[in-house]
Amino acid sequence: MEKLILRRVETDSEEMILNFGPQHPSTHGVINFLVETDGEVIRKAIPDVGYLHRSIEKIGETVGYPGFMPFTDRVDYVAAMFANEGYAIAVEKLLKLEIPPRAQWLRAISCELCRIASHLISVGTMAMDIGAFTPMLHGVRERETINDLIEALCGARLTYNYHRIGGVAFDLPDGWRDRTLRFLDHFDKFLVEFDRLISFNEVYVKRLAKVAVIPGAMARDYGLSGPNLRASGVDFDVRRDLPYGAYPHLRFEVPVGRGFVGAVGDCFDRYYLRCLEMGQSSRIVRQALETVPEGEYMAKVPRRIKPEAGEAFSRVESARGQMSYYVVSDGTEKAWRVRARTGSFTAMGIVDAVSPGLMVADLVALIASLDVVAPEIDR
């Protein structure tokens, strides 16, 4: 890194090398950007990540299969359900375990609520980074209700540890269904209000439309996934195209960026797509709550989880794109290798290529619109 910093600094020009972060409020965690600027215009922004590296993959090799589940929460603590689910699915594939339908529905319900919570943080902080503070508070207010619901479901508000290898930890509590439906009724109105509040606010739109455009081919090339990919016009959603769990039985649409106010793949598309996805998630939760089958919520899992040698790769549509776990077993009680592929990691890789020519303030918009979360990059 030092080499990059000391490369060249000419005195009689507008050139500067800035450290943007690691403790900058708009970097959404501890990320550093080395920004080469010419006045206000960015020549290049080089992301420097790793401040939150906790060697979670190495831990996965030492704690045994069920023991790793709480650690997956820490991979992405803003949307921990997906990390739980991805890991559970990978190990279930290794064990060739069928999980009961009720567990699949409960997984879908908890994940979609978690997606709403995560997207609320995403759009809220995005508005805050751009300079509008109120939407953040509205978003956090709604998220608070979701946190209450999830707390009633599994006892935790942030690091849920709700999914288990073979199902989920708890059944729906009494009265939870009605509480959730009441919240969703309110939430659907909130989404309309949120659009009125900020989404099509003229200043906001001007800050985001046609800024940091990522064309579809580039998004594919850089391995973007999830909302970031779809905002660039690539119609791909793991839930629909490689369905898992309860999703084949649920009806929902996959919003795709089409240049809502500017160009396809600009910051506004990435922002607004998340607003649309929240509406779809609400729809999924409603359906799932109505159709949730009776029965067990946990499969019969042996006390000692010891899959035969082999490897499995799982794909889950997380709030930040495709989350995959690659688990290699050598036939013992501890995994030989656990790998978490996360959406933020690849999303961060594209900053280098998109940033040249942006204004410094637009870099903030770009980072916010990619919705990266530092622990998910570094793991």
Partner: protein, 194 residues
């Protein structure tokens, strides 16, 4: 295309440099000869019908018994919705392999991560630096024989069991407190009694 068909296509183009499809122990994969991985990847991405344009994941697994580090390429096609897993084995002593950064840009960061955590060198990578760990870190932590250095720039990264430490603190506090009162030589006044 099914995985078998994809594999057939690669076999017909590259012959024995693409190995047999592994028995489907959950997810099948096929080994590729180290020298030809970049070529195979380019073919897999660009050949009509295959178009594996999404590098889902690139990672590695260390196998000290085989004396090999196994690189794992998870490929997927958005258009055809099919996928394939390729594997390349490299020597543990001086692991080197051609970079596929020119094929998928996503490989840039994935390869940096593998370089950082496994020490595999990717030839032709434009910017092969450590990504998660500091530049002057010693060793590659995801290798099975990795030993922690004990400290980094004087900051210890080993810690004993916190319970042991707590117990020691307890004992220290007990020792620092007044020595245990001697048998009541001067008993306190019994005024407090009800």
């Amino acid at each position: 295309m099914t995985t078998q068909e994809l594999h057939e296509r690669l076999r017909s183009r590259f012959g024995d440099d693409v190995g047999a499809l592994g028995e489907p122990r959950v997810d099948p994969s096929c080994p590729v000869r180290r020298e030809r991985i970049a070529e195979v990847c380019r073919f897999a991405k660009e050949e009509p019908g295959l178009e594996l344009d999404f590098l889902e994941d690139l990672t590695a697994v260390d196998w000290p018994k085989k004396n090999a580090i196994e690189l794992v390429y998870h490929l997927f096609s958005f258009r055809h919705r099919h996928g394939l897993v390729l594997k390349v084995e490299v020597d543990r002593a001086g692991p080197k392999v051609a970079s596929v950064e020119a094929v998928w840009k996503a490989a840039n960061w994935f390869e940096r991560e593998v370089y950082d955590l496994f020490g595999v060198e990717f030839e032709g990578h434009p910017d092969l630096r450590r990504i998660l760990l500091p530049d002057d870190w010693i060793g590659h932590p995801l290798r099975k024989d990795y030993q922690e250095a004990g400290s980094y720039h004087g900051i210890s990264n080993v810690r004993e069991n916190p319970l042991v430490e707590l117990r020691r603190l307890d004992e220290k506090a007990r020792a620092a407190a007044a020595p245990p009162p001697a048998p009541p030589a001067a008993p306190p006044s019994p005024a407090a009694k009800p």
